[in-house]
């Protein structure tokens, strides 16, 4: 194992060299095509000026980064709320106690309704509707109710992720726990949930990447976070470059998150399935 002798190893080396060459050549071809062809488009000069203006980029970036702090704040307080509410919904929905039947129906209605309507609509409805009830400052802030809308919709999606995890734990695990005298709640808490959560970490991370971007939707009802700040700069200077700058700031956060997610998925696949079929 691991030695570089033998015909198998020679074959693997040759194959690896070949795929490296193919990958390099094809990547270069694609990049060259873009770099050479796009500037040949008739209006490239104007697009270049209004989307990729270096001066505007440098001018906007500090303001955008400042505004991005608000995105991070919304994310930071929404995420724990989402995970807690989603867990609560998933556990309630999976409970088998007859007494919880009305709550189970409620959780089903909750997930169906929250997932059945676009997030933007919820942000408008809750963000404008609830403060409209005449709640006093500071509790009528669109920031709060926009976040609440995010929390409710995302909890519905993530509850389903948790539910899939809970249902993937084999019935025999419950049988073993119950046979030891554990109550159904103790079984859930100590045996089922720890296994379920471990299994759903990768898809959960995926949803966290989405949340990180959807935080920007809260700007629709007022708060000045990065997307709205980019819009303001765009209008002020009649130039779209701030949007490109905002996109770059998002990528700065989402790409590492996405890479981590893929790495987690890959690690879990290796742990659970062993060898890989090429």
């Amino acid at each position: 194992m691991g030695t570089v002798t033998g015909r198998r190893a020679a074959y693997e080396r040759a194959r690896k060299r070949r795929s490296t060459v193919v990958a390099t050549v094809s990547s270069l071809a694609v990049v060259t095509a873009i770099v050479v062809l796009v500037p040949k488009m008739p209006r490239w000069d104007r697009v270049h000026e209004s989307f990729f203006n270096g001066e505007r980029f440098a001018n906007s970036l500090p303001r955008l980064l400042d505004a991005f702090v608000l995105d991070i704040k919304i994310f930071a307080w929404s995420m724990p709320a989402i995970v807690s509410l989603a867990l609560l919904v998933a556990v309630t929905r999976n409970s088998r106690s007859a007494a919880l039947f009305p709550l189970r129906i409620l959780t089903i209605a909750f997930t169906d309704i929250m997932r059945g309507v676009p997030i933007i609509l919820w942000i408008y409805l809750i963000g404008f509707g609830v403060p409209g009830l005449g709640i006093d400052r500071p509790w009528n802030s669109p920031l709060i109710w926009g976040s609440v809308a995010l929390v409710l919709t995302y909890s519905a999606y993530i509850a389903e992720v948790f539910r899939a995890g809970i249902e993937s734990v084999h019935e025999s695990q419950r049988a073993a726990a119950r046979s030891l005298g554990l109550s159904s709640w103790q079984t859930m808490r100590h045996v089922v949930l720890p296994q379920a959560i471990r299994r759903v970490v990768p898809p959960l991370m995926n949803d966290m990447v989405s949340l990180q971007k959807d935080v920007a939707l809260v700007s629709l009802i007022g708060p000045i976070e990065i997307l709205r700040q980019a819009g303001i700069d765009k209008s002020k200077f009649a130039n779209f470059t701030p949007y490109i700058a905002a996109a770059a700031v998002f990528l700065l956060i989402t790409i590492p998150l996405t890479r981590t997610t893929d790495w987690l998925i890959e690690r879990q696949r290796r742990r659970t399935t062993g060898t890989r079929i090429s």
């Binding site: 726990a177 046979s179 030891l180 005298g181 296994q195 471990r198």
Partner: protein
């Protein structure tokens, strides 16, 4: 009739339209070893699961020390702490170390102090030759070791009765012996044991009472010598002949 530890009276159980137990009557004396044998699907495992109240029965009664534990709504958790169970596929908790598997129930359900539970676990592991596995995870153990840990886990709550559901059926042949040795030791210690098994030779050697199940009925029950050498019913005879032809006895 001596006072039975567990008594079953006319127990019926069906899954949908598939009736699995059709009127089981059985007395399990304290400190005795009772083996349930019979073809696959005859109801052995279901019977054990019913005794542990993992499956509610449709009709009949199950008594533990003369108390009817099969009354609908009877609190099953305290009963299960008195009747331990070991499963065919071990069912260890994969996310917990051997030690945590064993101490989970004593700590959570009996309120035993964690340090005390750990000491007790160490003692039991020592007794069954698993002392070095205390911090291992189930995946790192052989099947035989996993099953012995599962037995220790069931013993840690100090049950009065232990139900063993085909505990050697998913083991490689060379690992069966180490698990059966544990069962022999438990018999010596005076524990009441009820086992569903396909290990006929073992059942003959260890049992005080052997029951042959077929189609949800106990078609034959008696001392092992009598059941294995001179079964009274035709169907029990046929079953044992098949077993002997297959070289399992």
């Amino acid at each position: 009739m001596s006072a039975a530890k567990i008594s079953l009276r006319d127990v019926h159980k069906a899954f949908g339209t598939n009736s699995v137990l059709n009127g089981i009557d059985l007395d399990i004396a304290e400190g005795s070893v009772v083996s349930l044998i019979g073809p696959s699907g005859s109801g052995k495992s279901t019977l054990l699961r019913c005794i542990n109240l993992l499956e509610p029965i449709d009709d009949g009664e199950i008594f533990l020390d003369d108390i009817d534990i099969s009354i609908p709504g009877f609190d099953a958790n305290p009963v299960r702490r008195r009747i331990g169970m070991v499963f065919q596929n071990f069912n260890l908790f994969p996310h917990m170390s051997v030690q945590d598997n064993i101490t989970l129930s004593p700590v959570r359900t009996l309120g035993v102090n964690k340090a005390v539970a750990r000491a007790k676990a160490a003692e039991l592991l020592e007794r069954f030759g698993l002392a070095d596995k205390v911090n291992a995870f189930p995946d790192q153990l052989s099947g035989g070791q996993q099953q012995r840990v599962a037995i220790v886990r069931a013993l840690a709550i100090e049950p009065e009765v232990l139900l063993l559901d085909e505990i050697t059926s998913s083991l490689d042949p060379e690992l069966v012996g180490e698990v059966l040795d544990v069962v022999r030791e438990l018999k010596t210690s005076g524990m009441t044991l009820v086992l569903a098994t396909h290990e006929m030779g073992f059942a003959r050697d260890i049992s005080d009472l052997v029951c042959v199940l077929d189609g949800g009925h106990i078609i034959e029950q008696g001392l092992p010598g009598q059941v294995f050498s001179a079964p009274k019913s035709d169907r029990a005879q046929q079953f044992l002949e098949r077993i002997i032809r297959a070289g399992r006895l």
